[in-house]
Symmetry: C2
Subunit: 256 residues, 2 copies
């Protein structure tokens, strides 16, 4: 506890992987921190710096990790919590604020900064064109924190609204079959020709992209490192000689 | 026309404003380009470089601008098209690919790279907490390129789905009253207590943030430089002594 010194917690978005996605603001926040918290694979992306401590944790411990970082900052330290992608999209920012809301009163007096980053769906979209070029939604398919029935309802309404879609957390070992169910629901609502993109580890050396029509999209095509994009009925594929096809959702929609 | 030399078009996301948001990948792409195309205020953000030509255009000329940049690249040049935020979110990437689809066959042989950026909703969300911390959608409120009835339908379905929402292009001189109509529709579907955030020029020196309940949200609170975030029924406000309130949508939803 360093008395008069006032602590600060910065939640830093690392983007999808390689350093080319790391904004100058994020780099500066990582450099200034005395202590880094985060899920171990994300911490491993940040080069070591003398005098900076590291506090790695497991993926499933978001609220505990947030509390540990806040307690550290409340002692007067400059603390950074690293987050993959953007901290505000299915990542650490909400967990940190939930910890503030439910934690000791003094945590509300801490300076909190969220540094945005390139979230996975934007990196996947950029790699294959502009599939999110018109109205779209982002849905986590994990039912750890919400009932599966709510996910099914959202899928149907999103399809009826004509949104392109991005799916985060599409599968896990505990729920290998739900993604197939999600595609089955979409097949009831949308034509089988709608393009589906599986973007695995995009922005990392082992990146893999796969484009299939909804009719042929299956759960086994994704793992935990995959972000899935689903087009709308308006989404188009532009074939190119000797180059990957481009997928885009036009700026124009409906019968204007 | 430089014969054997093969041209390239890179669509570069500048992020929401200041250079602290510009990724190293985007900086490198701007440095390598022989020619820069873009809407003038975005071009003005890029420092001048000797030997690099600049081709500014008006905001409403997206397809013509894309065609000019593609024609230039087809002559063998390394061309960059600058885009505010992320090029794939209501920005230049879809216009460029539409131009490729409808343009001369040789444009399909060009190397096309899209460099993602921090899109406005992520910057606004980061400044006020994590309002997009759970499932959300992004909707352009401009009816230039889609019927207003489709926008109304999407607003209702998004509210019924329980999505948090981000609105791009919320108003223009030609349609000052539609945003009020959008809020009226949401007031029919959602409680008046749902938080609404008006983020104007976020990431720029003249940034302005305003938080109001949906009951008190009005069209005159936004201009063309505003990105609006609307929470879901789950979105919470955390009051802090002497600091701005934090707004977040919890990771948990429904009755799990």
């Amino acid at each position: 506890m360093s008395g008069g010194k006032s602590g600060k917690l910065t939640v830093v978005g690392l983007g999808p992987g390689e350093a080319r996605f790391l904004t100058p603001e994020a780099s500066a926040a990582l450099n200034e921190a005395e202590a880094l918290y985060g899920y171990e694979p994300y911490l491993d992306r940040v080069p070591a710096r003398a005098g900076q401590t590291r506090h790695a944790s497991d993926n499933r411990e978001e609220l505990a990790r947030a509390g540990a970082a806040l307690a550290h900052a409340a002692g007067g330290a400059q603390v950074a919590m690293v987050s993959g992608g953007d901290p505000g999209v299915f990542a650490m920012a909400a967990a940190v604020i939930e910890a503030i809301e439910t934690g000791p009163e003094e945590w509300r007096a801490l300076e909190l900064v969220v540094v945005p980053g390139i979230t996975a769906m934007l990196a996947v979209a950029a790699r294959c064109g502009a599939p999110l070029g018109h109205d779209f939604c982002a849905i986590s398919l994990s039912d750890n924190l919400k009932p599966w029935e709510l996910i099914e309802k959202r899928l149907r309404l999103a399809a009826q609204a004509g949104f392109a879609m991005a799916f985060y957390n599409p599968v896990s070992k505990a729920r290998p079959h739900q993604l197939e169910t999600a595609f089955d629901i979409l097949r009831e609502e949308l034509p089988g020709s709608v393009p589906v993109i599986f973007g695995r580890a995009v922005g990392r050396p082992d990146e893999r992209l796969r484009l299939v029509p909804l009719a042929n999209a299956h759960g086994h095509m994704a793992d935990m490192a995959t972000c899935i994009l689903v087009g709308s009925v308006e989404t188009r594929i532009v074939e190119r000689p000797g180059l990957p096809s481009l997928v885009y959702t036009p700026r124009r929609a409906g019968d204007v």
